[in-house]
Homo-oligomer: 359 residues x 2
DNA sequence: TTGAAAGCGGTACCAG
DNA sequence: CTGGTACCGCTTTCAA
């Protein structure tokens, strides 16, 4: 069966349909022919242009519905140089914080008619750079970087050059990371004050040796450490290097690391993630230390883990939902209304008190 | 500044570049002109066609690299009717099982050069159907449905018609769900045998009243219940309706539901998800029941929760990684080599023994 | 209010 | 091995 383009045999599509192959989807030319108008008019109807007579509009709409016409997104993308798509990159979506972020982002983007293409970049700088490049080559409308590792480790400024480079082409939004540059927009939880407050409360309750447990040099981790140090200083406490404890966000790894240390004394733990905090909790369990009496522990991100453990974990709710929603709202303002938006937003956190602390 | 297409002023692109706007990306025509060949040849080089002389190839390649040329994906998509994209839909990516699945899928797809567009459909039938339609309209190469809710609740066969409908257009792959139909390919954990085995072990240890706790009527939940029942029957035990306990995959909800029941006696719990199992664990803690001596509990999916709780939870590892990898391998076979592939694969599970059971 | 036609940036077939 | 060119399906000016 041959279909000449000059004489499209439209109704024969049914033949394909019934054969279950549906080789060629119906296109704008078909709709135009069936409606007895030009493709320009069909296009106007599809895009809700006001300059179409109600009568024509109705007719075309009816034909479109009857044939379940869907415009070809590629052709549209080619013409408009956009497919209403945003790229989301996170180091690892298995992490509960990241997956929650992606869930929020997707939900809000979907609401605004965008779809999201997802990338898990891993934790290597090289991989991150490669993934960002890849995303840009997909001609996404916007790039969202989830997780504060994207903001570099604070040591080498050039580590974030690739983000500034990307921003030359495409607006970049960062969730919980801060990078300075044109066309880069950041939304961060106020980790400094949250950690300051947690530490302050420990001090208030008479804790003397507060262990700060962290797992990366990310932007967020640096804010948290600064908050911890500031609270110590405010109380006139010394900042002891041995009480800054680097580990992984892994329960068993953290537990074993603590068990391995012989002469580390501490009466409380400020952790930068729940997994770490629970590692400390497991350590206490094994050593027979009672929580929160002899060891108080505070986690971060208020994940499901904080409720699953025993006793349940006091944790900082970093207001991820707010962060994500705000980000998307700003994105829409920028993309669709061309409005100016803030390049940095800070969202206050909330301490969720449970039973591993006595405040 | 005007650029006429008949006489493109290629080098003037640098003007744009330095102004930081980069209005028009370099295209195949530019590369062709710069290399002194036709666009057909450039296209051949881009696509690694063998019929290009090494000399020409080298020259074109050099120009492409120098100008960081990237083919326009939309134009390519339009011509090939494919953008090497797969759509992934899951009800809720906040769920740890789902996010792990997406992580595995993305990783493998990325390896094969596909990118994935993600959708979180929620738990309503209507939303699922709408989301599937939306995805299809994006002209994805394949659709992946993650989670056994997509396989319907087993009561109404028509609930899965939309999947068969989708499969007429696009191959559909299901992770841990089973739907019969042409062009639909399913990979499932062998939940029947895993649950059979867990139940059998409880029986072997003398448990008499084994509570089966589940949270949905999904395909997977039905397999698990069947395994539970089969094990009871095999041991000559009666199947008691009151020991089939429906809840949510929510720790606190499950805990409170158990606390509310007055006359429910049980000496062991077979749960279809870790969150449920931990709800039972919390219940035991509050009631002062010792685990595993007086109450044995077994979870499912071997999530991070199983390690975070106290005591740590015996859980079924449903081999999600294997499921996902196999699915992608099959997908590639089908898409790129046109090979026939199995429409159903079953992957055996593994029971990870920890301290909430005495087997 | 409508239609004709020029792109958008590739791919792939057909000649040479 | 290479070039010319007809699509792919839609958007958007420009005329009518």
């Amino acid at each position: 069966m041959i279909i000449l383009d000059s004489e499209r045999i439209v109704f024969d599509l049914s033949v394909f349909k019934e054969s279950g192959r549906e080789d060629k989807a119906i296109n704008i030319y078909d709709i135009a022919k069936l409606s007895g108008v030009s493709i320009a008019t069909v296009s106007r109807v599809v895009n809700g242009s006001p300059k179409v007579s109600p009568k024509t509009k109705e007719k075309v709409l009816a034909i479109m519905q009857e044939h379940e016409y869907t415009p070809n997104v590629f052709a549209r993308g080619l013409g408009l140089d956009s497919m209403k798509t945003v790229g989301i990159i996170s180091p690892n979506i298995e992490d509960h914080y990241m997956s929650r972020a992606v869930a929020y982002l997707e939900k809000n983007l979907h609401y605004y008619g965008y779809n999201c293409i997802l990338g898990c970049s891993g934790h290597e700088q090289k991989e991150r750079e490669a993934y960002v490049k890849l995303m840009l080559s997909k001609r996404i409308d916007t790039l969202v970087l989830v997780g504060s590792v994207f903001a570099g480790n604070g040591k080498n400024e050039f580590d974030t050059d690739y983000i500034r480079e990307a921003a030359k082409t495409t607006p970049v939004f960062m969730i919980n990371g801060c990078v300075d540059g044109n066309n880069i927009y950041c939304a961060c939880a106020d980790d400094f004050h949250a950690t300051f407050e947690v530490t302050r409360r420990f001090i208030e309750r008479g804790k003397k040796r507060i262990l700060f447990m962290f797992n990366s040099d990310s932007f967020s981790a640096r804010q948290k450490m600064a908050g911890y140090e500031a609270a110590l200083s405010a109380a006139g406490y010394p900042i002891r290097g041995e009480l800054k404890f680097k580990t992984r966000n892994d329960i068993e790894y953290t537990r074993d690391l603590l068990l391995a240390y012989k002469n580390l004394e501490f009466d409380s733990v400020v952790a930068t993630d729940d997994g770490i905090a629970i590692g400390a909790l497991k350590y206490a369990k094994i050593k027979g230390i009672s929580v929160p009496e002899d060891l108080s522990i505070s986690g971060y991100n208020d994940s499901i883990l904080a409720i699953g453990c025993e006793p349940e974990m006091t944790s900082v709710d970093s207001k991820l939902g707010v962060l994500c929603k705000t980000t998307i709202d700003h994105m829409i303002k920028l993309l669709e209304k061309g409005e100016e938006i803030d390049s940095y937003i800070s969202v206050p956190c909330n301490i969720v008190k449970r039973r591993t602390t006595d405040f």
